[in-house]
Symmetry: C3
Subunit: 214 residues, 3 copies
């Protein structure tokens, strides 16, 4: 599925991203007292859900159905949480960095794959954002919480910014590898800075009109 | 995507419908204190979610991926809510009418598109109902509420009635334009009358057996 | 859609399974005071939701769009609940057996269909599990509850065990019919025994870290 320049390095990054996403799903599931199977499903859905939605809309085979590494990676994440859950708290910052790496890489993959399918940039930006952020939304629907990315520090917007950076690089006809690095770096830095400085998007002033739902 | 007789008029109606659907999603998201991005996503999902599900099941490219007008329309809806949220309450009836127009038009589009793909009428009625009503279900899942259309005044049933009207018109081999108008009018009138006279479908008598879930 | 040896017997089993799944959705919807339409939609989604997701991922037409029997079956389930809801409590064990039959049969169908599409066994096991268990997840999302199958007695794991049995039978090159029966029986027995002896998967020890969501 990759048209990225250095496959092995990217594959390592992708494994780290998948692992971090799966850990995030498994930990939240465990806080809701899911059993091992439930936790695994939520972890897997967090890791591959966004890319699956993307592939369904692009009408290609969902990527995890052609390579069992994502299944195995989610399984290792479950094993990790089962064995080391006590130490996970101390690794909070590490996982935050891993998650940001995953977000960046998934965005690059999503944008590139959509462009490869012949869609214009604006579709690719949406699909990149889907790839990076939709897994977290599916996770939150499963654990019956309001999706966090709709309310907290900039998350999905980082994917959008990365997608725009991809488009700018394309305008200047930069080599693909440079484009990928700049796109990923934009996502990663936006996310890191947003959390460090608690940068949030403005909230709409509620009208207290829940009754008025149509 | 349209095989409807007067493109420009229909496009105006469709824009109004998309706008009204997006407004409904954005307002509910704002009541839950979503940020701008989250509100935009919910608005967009409300407006295009039903048609996207339909297109995925029909195995065609989701309609909003071929025309950026839906993205822009949802963006304008967000801008509108940000700028004029104080005045929205007074426009409640206007938006109710707009929403009913959207419901009617989306149903016609969904039924026609499914028939064009070669499916029988009963599939087309389901797909018309999906197109009209599923966006609201996705919206309610995102904001973590029980989907309103499953409990309140007749909403999705209006789409079903419109679809049946479409079939009756087809039986009499009426011209396509007349069929579309009668189908849309059935949906619109059913919805308006249902709200005006608080017509609800019967509720099942709960067995108080939530514990008995399998 | 079936490549199973004795069509008529399987069709009867499938009707029973669909009916039982739809009843489970309709009863839970009625406990939440959904109207008839909402209950029908939840029942239908419980019955066909898993297979629909499977077919979308396999990129084939969702099975219920080619045969209206599933629609009719869900309608009969609704009628049944409306007419006989008072007696349903006494039929609790009957419906539990029916549900286990549905789970077993849907798993066999899902695994076989995925293999027919040329995917390897591990994808087929996942798709069999989807077919059997995802409908219940969609049901629980609609009624705004945490999906029960992630927390209670072994349910989806029964599908996985059935899928593995399918693979073992294939290794020994058993006739298709025997493979189907052994696969289905594994699912059925696992499910029955799990509920009879309250066999649950272990739960992850929650870290009380909901605040730490990334």
């Amino acid at each position: 599925m990759f048209n990225i320049a250095i496959p092995t390095f990217v594959q390592i990054l992708e494994f780290i991203g998948t692992f971090a996403f799966a850990i995030s799903g498994i930990r939240l599931a465990s806080a809701k007292r899911f059993d091992w199977f439930g936790a695994y499903v939520v972890g897997m859905a967090t890791a591959v859900g966004g890319g699956t939605l993307r592939d369904i809309m692009l009408d290609v085979t969902p990527f995890w159905m052609t390579d069992s590494i994502y299944l195995i990676c989610s399984g290792l994440a479950l094993l990790w949480v089962i064995l080391f859950s006590k130490f996970l708290v101390h690794l909070h910052n590490t996982f935050f960095i891993f998650d940001a790496i995953g977000l960046a890489l998934f965005t690059v993959v999503g944008v590139q794959k959509t462009l490869d399918c012949g869609y214009p940039l604006w579709v690719a930006i949406i699909m990149g954002t889907f790839t990076g952020a939709a897994g977290g939304v599916i996770r939150d629907v499963f654990i019956n919480e309001i999706p966090l990315i709709f309310r907290k520090e900039i998350y999905a917007m980082a994917c959008v910014i990365g997608g725009i950076m991809f488009g700018i690089c394309d305008l200047f006809e930069l080599p693909r590898l440079i484009t990928h690095i700049l796109c990923g770096a934009s996502v990663f830095l936006t996310r890191i800075l947003a959390v460090k400085y608690h940068i949030c998007l403005p909230t709409l002033s509620g009208e207290h009109d829940e009754e008025e739902k149509i």
